[in-house]
Structures are given as C-alpha cells and as structure tokens.
Symmetry: D2
Subunit: 410 residues, 4 copies
C-alpha cells in the first residue's frame, strides 16, 4: 500500500441515486465547511431515452417534475441568514455519458415558440466526451460544457409559500386556467412526491400547498442560469431553520434563455457542495433574491456572431409592443434561427442548438421607448464550419434532422 493511501478521504456522497432507477432521495444535515456530494436524477426522473425518436418527449409526464435531491439542512442556519453555497463541481455519471435537449409538444410542456411553431416533440441526444458535447442529431457542432444545476434553492417559509401560491393562482385566474401552454402551475397532488415517510396529514397539506417547481422564485429555484456553474459561489437568503437546500435539474450546458423549455442539455449527475453561513446576511446584503459569483472556468469563445431583436414582432404580425424585452429576445432568437437555417440546419435543429449551446443573450437597452433591444450571441468556435457572413454567401450543408416522432410529425 503506497503512502498515498493514508489520509485520503474521499468526499462523502450524501444523496446517492442510480440514474436509471428513479428513487426517493434521502435527506441529510451538514455542518458549515463540509464538502459533500449530491447525486441527482435528470429533471424528468429518467423518462427520456438515448434513442432516435421523440416519442418519449411527446409522452412525457410533467406532473412529476422536477425530480429533486434534498433538502439538505445546514447546521446553524436560521431565517435571515445568508447561506453561502460553493458549487465545487458538477459532473455526469460515468455510466451515463449523455444528455438530451427537447422540444415539447405545444399541449404538453410547450416552450418559448410553442405557439409560433405549433411545436411537436423533437429532441437531440448529446454525447459527452470529457468536457465536450456533440450530437448525432445536430451535426457540425461541438462545444465545452458549462455544467450547472438548473434548479437550486433554499426552502421557503410558510408565509413565502403562501405569497407564491396567492400570486400565481392570481395570474392563472387573470389569464385563464385553460391557457396552452399554462401560464402557471398551481399546487396539485398528482405526481407530487415528497420522499420521506410522512404523516398523511402533512402529505395532504403538501399536496395542497406545495409550490410546483417550474418557475424560479425568491429562494432561487428553477432559475436556469447557465453561469451558476461548477466553481461558482452563491449567496441564498435563508427562510427556515436549517436553510434546507434542494438541487436538481442538472445541465451539461445551456444557452441564455433556454428557449425550448427543456432546452438545456439535461442530464443526471453529481454535484459537489460546500456551505457556510453569514449570520444576518439578508439584511446586511439586502438579499431579496440570490446573488452569485460565476466560475473562473466558464468556457471562453471570444468570437461571437450577434443578432439583435426589438419589441416588435417582425417575425409574426408586425405588432408593436411597449418596451417588452421578452418579445425582443424572441425576435433576436428568430433572427438567429433564420440564419442557422441558411447554413442548412432545420428549424428544429436550430431551436435545439440555441437552447443548448453556450449562447449569450444580453439586454442591450431597455429605455428607448417603445423598443427594448435584446441581443443573442452565437460563439462561432463551436462550429466545424466557418459560419461568418461572406461575400459569396453562406455554405449550405445537409445536416439531416434531429430526432422526431415516430409518426414523423414535426
């Protein structure tokens, strides 16, 4: 036995899952300063397969999402404190070196362009080769991942939870519960899963009051911020004793906006954490929502091709919106999709690619009434082909099509 064996303590894994067997994550308590690992299912809990049709995406059961790991209590954390969370690493499982990006059906999940595109299920499987991802469904690109948790956050207090439910059910009431895709998701028992062996009355209460995890909220949650990547340091407000950190929805990569909804490269994997507590941090830092420091190892692709968008629906009916950054983002994205189609990608491939690759989207200006301006930047270095505009035009390549439904409806 070599000298190296002594004092070699592996980092303990607190939540352990088999990515192929959806199972109940246990909960645990950590001390500040401890390094620990949490294993996570992909956000659907293993519903999507490594194959070449999108039938599983079409048929996905979204009542069970997000599949999370936790909560983890941190000793000493109390409401009003700031929980510092170092995201030390995020890795896929060795035995599952792949992930997926999906376009969901208009009627089952939707996505940013679900209505414009009348979306039918499509997907791309991404193979991980070390730090890189590439896809047989979107040939011609390869990029370094920026692995991160799509969803991470502390637990809400009952008061905060009540606020969420009140305002979101209010929005549903305002805009219509029958909206497709839904405008928001009220608590519902179907598919809810709380893991532990709990008293039936508590379970029932959770089913009735537990917020669904689709949107990010004041505690963090499903913010889907790609730069919350391995190496970042995050500061969360604490709302309950122990903070109760939960995590899931790991992404190997994602573009700003995650436009196709299941737009990141979704994966199962392992996240490594360290925590500390700053007493009374909420007041000291005016911490109404999480803040964070990005990682020094986020990928660097210096050359980018940037598309602009304004709050006029020039790709639709030409309607003028009033300083609407969401509309502006959509126009920038549609301009980028049109450009990628000139290179030979199908609309579905382009939509998936912009969702999954390290796309940067900036709010350019948001004061020049009535037009907000949003940009969307594609790193040119991720393409095998030179994609820059040229006097002779763009070279069109046949990239086939992504994985679509077995009935070939797109």
């Amino acid at each position: 036995m070599a000298n190296t064996a002594a004092n070699s303590k592996p980092v303990p894994t607190l939540v352990s899952v088999d990515p192929f067997v959806p199972d109940i994550p246990p909960f645990a308590t950590v001390k500040p300063g401890e390094v620990f690992k949490i294993e996570c299912h992909d956000w659907t809990g293993g519903q999507i397969g490594n194959n070449d049709t999108s039938d599983d995406v079409r048929d996905v059961d979204l009542t069970v999402v997000h599949n999370l790991s936790g909560p983890i209590a941190v000793e000493g954390a109390e409401p009003g404190d700031c929980l510092v969370v170092d995201i030390l690493d995020v890795q896929p499982f060795d035995k599952m070196p792949w992930g997926f990006t999906g376009i969901f059906e208009l009627e089952n999940g939707g996505g940013l362009f679900a209505r414009e595109f009348k979306s039918r299920a499509a997907k791309a499987i991404w193979d991980f080769e070390g730090i890189y991802a590439s896809s047989r469904h979107i040939p011609g690109v390869r990029f370094a991942g920026i692995p991160h948790p799509g969803l991470i956050g502390t637990a809400p207090s009952p008061e905060l939870l009540a606020t969420w439910n009140r305002r979101e059910t209010g929005l549903i009431a305002e805009l219509g519960a029958e909206s497709v895709p839904p405008v928001a998701y009220a608590p519902q028992p179907k598919g809810a899963y709380v893991g532990q062996d709990l008293d039936d009355k508590i379970k029932e209460k959770i089913y009735q009051e537990g917020a669904r995890t689709i949107p990010g909220r004041e505690h963090g949650g499903n913010c889907d911020i790609k730069n919350l990547s391995r190496g970042s340091r995050c500061y969360f407000p604490v709302f309950v004793k122990g903070a109760n950190l939960s995590v899931g929805d790991l992404h190997f990569s994602q573009g700003d906006g995650e436009m196709s909804f299941c737009g990141a490269i979704e994966m199962a994997g392992i996240i490594t954490f360290k925590t500390s507590i700053i007493k009374d941090g909420v007041q000291m830092f005016a911490l109404r929502q999480p803040i964070f420091l990005p990682s020094p190892i986020d990928p660097m692709y210096s050359q980018k091709l940037v598309f602009e968008g304004l709050s006029v629906d020039i790709h639709g009916d030409g309607k003028q919106y009033n300083m609407d950054a969401t509309v502006a983002y959509k126009q920038a994205a549609l301009n980028a999709i049109s450009y990628l189609q000139k290179l030979g990608y199908t609309r579905e491939q382009a939509y998936l690619l912009l969702s999954a690759a390290p796309i940067e989207s900036h709010v350019g200006a948001i004061v020049d009434s009535p037009n907000a301006c949003v940009t969307l930047a594609i790193p040119t270095g991720i393409f095998e082909q030179d994609i820059l505009p040229k006097p002779e035009g763009l070279e069109r390549t046949d990239y086939g099509q992504c994985a679509v439904r077995s009935d070939r409806v797109v």
Copy 2:
C-alpha cells in the same frame, strides 16, 4: 523632413464638427474600402455642461434629439444588399475629455425607474483619462471605457418608414398619448432638423413623416448596444440606394440596459469607419435586422457579482407578471441598487453607475412560466473597495451625492 513624412496620409474626416458649436453636418459619399472619420456631437447637441448641478438636465430640450452625423452614402449599395461597417475606432475629442450620465425628470425624458423613483434631474460628469473614466460625482469607481455609437443605422425606405409610423402611432393610440413618460414619439416639426438646404415642400414632408430617433428599429438606429464598440464589424440591411448610413449618440461606456435612459457616458467624439457591400446580403443572411461581431478589445473584468431578477415586482406591489423579461431586468437592477446603497452610494449614484459602467445583463431563462429570469452582473474590479459579501458585512463609505438640481430636489 524625415522619411516618415512620405506616404503618410491621415485618415480623412468626412463630417467635421466643433463639439462646442452645434452645426449642420454635411453629407458625403464614400467608396467601399475607404477609411474615413465622422465627428459627432453628443446626442443633445451640447446642452449638458461640465458642472455640478443638474439644472441643464432638468431643462433639456428633447425635441431636438438625437443630434446625428450623416447620412453617408456608400457607392454601389442598393436595396437588398448588406452594408458591412467596420467601426474601427471611437474616440472623444481631445479638447473635451469628459462625458455625462443623466437621470431625467419623470416629466422630461424619464428612464426605466422614472415612475418608481419619481425621478428628478441628477447627473454625473465623467472625466476621461486615456481609456478610463472616473467621476467626482460617483467616487470609488474607475473603469475602462467601451466606446461605441449608441445610434448607427442605414436609412429606411418610404415603405419601412410608413410601417414604423403606423405601428408606433398605433401604440400611442392604444396606450394613451398623455402617458408620462411617453410610450412612443410620433413625427413632429418642433426641433426637427434635417441639415441641408432643402426645398420647403420636402422639409415639410420630413417634418410630418420623419421617424423620431429614440427607438432602435429594423435598420439599427438607437439600439444602444454597448458591444457595438470600436473594433466591431456590423452587417446592416440596405433599404435605399447608397444605404445612407447615419451615426451619433456616441458613448464612452454603457451598462447593458442603459437603465437611466441618458444612462451611458454620453460624449461628443470621432468615429472611424470602413465599409463594404455584400450584394444581395439581405436574402443570403436572412438579414431582417443588423448582426455584428464584437471587438477583440472589449474590457475584460473576469470577476463579477451577479444579481437575479424575476418577473414578480418584489420591489413594488409584489405583482406577478407573465414571463416578462422587462420586469425581471428591473428587479435585478433594483436588487443591485439596494446592494450598492449598502456600500454607501445614494440611490441616484447607484442608478447612474449601473447605467454607465460595463454592467452585463443576461436573459437567464425565459421559459419557466410564469417567471422570466434576468441577471445583472457588476464587475468587481471597477471598484477601489472590495465589494464582495463578507461575514462581517459590507463596509459603508460616505460617497456624497451626485450632481443634483440647484434647488436640491432629488
């Protein structure tokens, strides 16, 4: 005479202005491949002074903006072509090494938080020391500029102009002409200035139909994108013979969003261009709006403190919005302002600083109904002080106040 004199041809200045004397810019025609310079007034045409009150901002005449230079015709450009514009350099005038950032009155110009803050005029004067800017009105920061034109674009065709006027006057009709600040700006004769000695009938036509330049549009225009900086290459759609490029509203620096409206470091200065034409580029590149390649010399501040915002007005009445990235941007900005106030900056200073410094704002996710997520990143390296969250809290410094009205109303 040294050898160096021979064959030394300075780059010609096509539009020459004295930044202290508002004057009519001439027009000119260039050949593709020529390098040329254009001098530009600041966007207000010299209304704001290097002094310590904001009375000039309070009283600014906005009917005359933007003060532009051009148009410049490019030989051979025709509708449907792509005009490639290299922004080779952007520099302030040697004799005017300063710029300004203003908060405009709620009733005269407004800004992103004009209503929330019931804005009264305030400003910061920035001194340029080579590549850096610092301000006696916002002590404790110094940063490298990212000089760029806030406004640059080709000329619209009559059809496109008609489209603009139709949709924007439609919005005014929809949302109310008496809105404060206005939702949009219809053509009006007052303050309009078209430069050349034109026939009265043509002038009258322009007064009645000429689009006001506040918003960016399909041709580019006032997009206020900070990364259209010196060294960038831009691709514009051409709508009229000659393309007719105009430029103005030069900025020494700007934060993503330019939140206080006159939020960049506004300056007079000189821009250096080179152009080329890609025939039929609009069709070849699906070019419905400009696209561009950013500069390799944009400042690099690797460490950033990032604030999150969602489409819930947590700083106001708590209202839930539906996937509204504008609301999300505002929350991220308000979170950042609150943080900066903990360091000792006034709300006005923080608002001006976030408008003017190289702040990065990303669309994080725009699919997690009902909450869009937008982030706002402050580079920590621009501060003299260490601004990171610490166990002992933040050190509060007295930074005084920015320039306010002589009646001290803020």
Copy 3:
C-alpha cells in the same frame, strides 16, 4: 429501469490502476475515434503521503520515475503521420482528492533554485474541492485547477532514441557527471520498469538504452506545459508503427516554469482521450515537435501582478549573462518570491506557491542585447487578501510554514 439506461455506454477504461498500489500498467490498442480512459499513478508511484512532514520527499527514490501508463497503440498510425490526441478530461481519483507539491533536496532531485537556496525537502499538500485546490501548508490562497498531463508523448524510433542518448550523454561528459543536481540522466537499469513480461535480452537492451523521462523531447514527453489541459487538442509526430502513446505525471495545476521541479500539484488520476490520425502529417505541418490547441475552459483570472526579470543575476552576484532567458526567468521568480515574503509567506511557501498556482510566465523580449526579459504574472484573484501595492504598504500575515522535515531543517 428508466429509459435512461438504454444505450448508456460508459467510456471504457483501458488502463486501470489503484492509486494506492503501484502496479504494472497493461498496454492496449485503440481505434481512431474511440473515447477511452487511462488511469495514472502520480509520477513517483505513490511515494509521497498526505501528512505534515517532508521526510518522504527527502527520501524519495527518483530512480523509478516517471511512473507512466501505456503505451497505447493507435491502429493505422505509421511513422510520418500526425497523431491527433484530444485530451477530453483529466480528473483526480474520487478516493484520493489531494495532491502534493515538493521542494526536493539539493542532492536528491534539486529544482530551479536548489543551489541558490541550498534546498532541503519541503512540501505542500493540496486538498481538491471540486475544481479548486487549497493547502493547509500555504494558507490564504485558493485557485481553480488546470488539470493536465505533465508527460505525454509518442514513442521514439530507435534512431531518435539513439540521438537522444548521444546528445545527453555528451552534455554530461561536457559539464561533468558529478554535477549536483545532475545536468542530465543517462539510461540506467536501476529503477527501470518496463511493465510487460519481456524477454530478458529485450529488457537488458531497454535498461541500457531506454531514455530516462525527465526532459521533454521531440516526441512530447515531460514537457510540463500547463495548457495541455483537459479540452486541449494535441498533434504529435509519429515515429513508430502504432504511435505508442504514453502518459503520466498528471497535474491538478501548475505554474509556468514549474520552478521547484516537483512544482506542479502532483496527483494520481484519470485521463480521457480520443485520437485520430492525419496521414503524412509530419511533412504537411512541418511537425518536428508537438503542436496543440489549448482548452476553452482554462481558468480566467483577468487581473495579474507582473514581475520582470533580466539576464543579470541581481539576486546573486550581479553577473551579466548574454541574452539568457533562463537567468531572466529566475530573476522574475525571485522578485516575485521577495514580494510574497513581504505578505508573510516564507521563502519555501512562496517557492511552492509559484510552482503550483496558475502563474503565467512570458518571454517579453529576447533581442535587446545583452538582456533577455522574462515576466512572471501572479493572478491576484487566487488570494483571499488584496495583494496589490498600496500607499500604506503590504499587510503582513502570519501564514506559518509549509511541511518541512521532521528534523526541522529547511
């Protein structure tokens, strides 16, 4: 069993080692395009322990280094081809999340300043927390790793091997075999280990002719280039059929120059590869030594404090050298060490830190006779403390001492 199980093929591990049991690495053959993993011992084969004395460094047996994994043959590779090697990932073993940096004794291994410092054994143990390393022996710093193989290369042809032996034994003859530390290392049977069950005559031949692996050579080898990190693509000349790639000496991090000799953060770990062959590449690319493309995820620390050095021994006897970049590097390094000592680090801690952290050393100018100029840049963001020069001087902290010999001799 979830859908995710189907088609999930883990990347095969071709060379598998237990980092705690030095063992014979098997050899294997791969096809171009295959992704595979290689496990590697640390370069000493497990002689250095995770403890707080440097006695193991003092007593290290260097006749057995480097402990390598391989060779791996690539199907179809022939002399004159270019072997493209994608270093897809480099990771420590889960069960051994630590590494070491050592100062070796003047008489047993040496190092760049072995003579100047009359080096006695010292070391720092580094704990890995995800992407970061920190050390109880060098407090106050923490940095992102840039994991890479210190040693990687193809196998030499007999002719090339003969060239190596001729020129290196020539140097020994020229400069003296008794030099301490040695100027070069001739083949020797002691400690040589060739892994497979080979015929005795072949073994004997290897013992007599096999080049020792300390220096890098035309095939790559122990170049200790920190930017050959995970995500990089390398192009090697092929000298023998199959190319016969070997790898070892994994580093979690290293500074340019690796000045203390065992200066990187040495670790056992796992490297992931993919290869391809470019026929006749040596001629096509004038490939006399490897070339490579660095990774897009190398850590980014934008602010750096840079020290200069010239080819004058100002830290020694003041001797003027003739355009000697090695002397210049040493002066820059000694200037940096002096600076770090002002912050409270001991000379040994500073020496180890500059060896192990992501220090950048550039050849500034190498034509201004007689002084070559070399710079050495310390990223300021790796320190907890602000290390920049300040009007009030530098804050001196007591950082203790690194691990030294049990007899306390340093």
Copy 4:
C-alpha cells in the same frame, strides 16, 4: 457656444514632437495626479519610410537610437520611493497612421536569427485602421493592436549607472568586442544626444558614461514587454530625485520576444500618463525591478495554435544545451516559422509576422534537465484563412514577399 465648452480642459501635452522632424525633446516637471501627454518619435527618429524597399533599414544609423522623450521629473519623488505610472493611452499620430517592422542586416542591428538566417534587410509597413493593423507586405492577416511603450523607465543613480557599465563592458571583454551582432553596447559619443543646452563638461561626461538604451535594466528601460499597454499601471523604483521618467520606442503591436529585434510595429505617437508616488516603496514592495498590472483591454483571441521548443537546436546542428530557455524559445519560433511557410508565407514574412502580431510565448517548464521548454502561441483569429491542421493538409496561398532591398538580396 454650447454648455459643453465650459470646464473642458484638454489634457496638456508636455513633450510635443513632429513625427516628421527629429527634434530635441524638452523636459518638464509634473505633480503627482496630473494627467499629461508625451509625444514620441519612432525609435529611429524617422529613418524608416512608408515605401516598398528595405534600403532604409539596411542603411539605418543605429548610433542615434533610441530616440526618447523626457526625462519628466515628478515632484516629491526621492530615491527609495516607488513611482506609480498609469499608462492611460498610447496612440499613433493622426497624420501618420502607419508603422514598420524590420529585419536588420546581420552586420547592422541583427536580430534573434541574424546568424541563422544571415539576415539581409527586409521590412513590412503596417497600416493602422483604428484599432487594427494590416500590411500590404504580409497579406492575409489583420489584428487589433496592443499599443505600448517599448521603452519606459526612471533614471539610474550614478552608482547604478556605474554598475551597468561595469557589467556590460565586462561581458564585451569576455565574449569579444568584435562579435557580430554585438553582445552589448558600451557608452560612446557618436550619435549620443542629450537634448538640452548643457555645459560641455557635462555633455562629455554623458558621452563617456551614459548607458546605451538597447537593453532593459533595473529601472525598466527597453524591456519591450507588450503588455505594458494602454491601461496598465506600472510601479518603478526611484533612483534619483524627481524619478526622471523617460519614454519612447512606441509600438502599435508586438509579439512576445520581439524576435526580429525591430520586431514590433514601430511607430511615432502620443502617450498619456498619470503618476503618483508611494514613499519608501522600494523597501515595502522589495522593488528591485518594475512590476505592473496589465490593461483590461488587451486584445482577446481565445483560440491559439501553440508550438513547442526545447533547449536542443533541432533546427541547427542538433546540439544539446543545458536548460537554456533562449534556445528553447528559438526552436518554438522556428517551428512556427516552418508552419507559416507551409501556408505560403516566405521565411521573412513569417519572421516579421511573429515579431509583430500578438504572439504569446510562455516558459512552459524550466526544471526538466537538460531541456527547458518554451511555447509560442499564434492566435488563429488574426488570419483571414483557417490555419488549423486538417486531414487534407494546409492550403498554400501565394502571399508574395515583404519589402526587401532594391538589389533584391534577401
């Protein structure tokens, strides 16, 4: 007169030169905190012209170099202090938007490969288009400048000057005064120019003792460090009252190593400074040579093709050197030159290009006896052509030749 005129004070120019008329720079005194400009001739004082032969390079009078501006005294600076110099900007003259890179004759100036190449005069003229340089003599490349002073430093004390003269004349004595190119440059009256109307006895003393400015030394001087660029902050040791800062040899761009000697893009231009003093800084910071912080706007080209070199002269006689980083740099450079020749550049073009473009050269490892390893990285984004190795080889383009002697001898 607009409001903008009031309080607009241009930055004063303290040393003013006409780049076409070599003239005596005056001296001046500044207060700490003042921003001021210094105009500088190119280092030869205007001997090289914007034309298409290298006869002026062949015939250059090197007894008069470097042509410097200064010295500038800083009020309050005393020996032992640290002079902080902010290099706020570096710009070419508007009326001279071009610079030059030269290969000097073996017998008149030399260069890193003067002997290997038996160098005859050659040059490239670079045209500046805003932040970019390109050359009709080296087609196919265009890159952002990193403008900086090749030479900047404080004045030596008499004792330090005596040390310089002693050690450098010692080297000449050791290696031979007749070495071609010279190993060092002793003081000599011919071509010496000290600017002011000085007493004859003082002039004579200067002629006999004044150090020639070719090498960098402890005070800074001709270090030719490309990252001392606009936006950097430098800390110089002060040796005499007033510090007496001098500057010159402005470069629009340079590669690490500046290998062809006159290898940067040499230009006349204007540098903007601000200074401050840190009392007793030499002791506080162990400041034996300058240290500095690079600029946040140095160009960013993320993709690089890296060449390796070792201390074996594989491009020459195969000689083994002992840990010689200069030899290693040369091999890396020769490997890069060979590669560029495969793309169609001549040896002279490649040599000039690597000298002038933003090439990065790192000391990889300097402890693996007997082979130092140095790398040289070419940013691929400066080429119009894709220069990466490809299975089909490299595309060879006819790039003509750089400017050579009128007798066509190369």
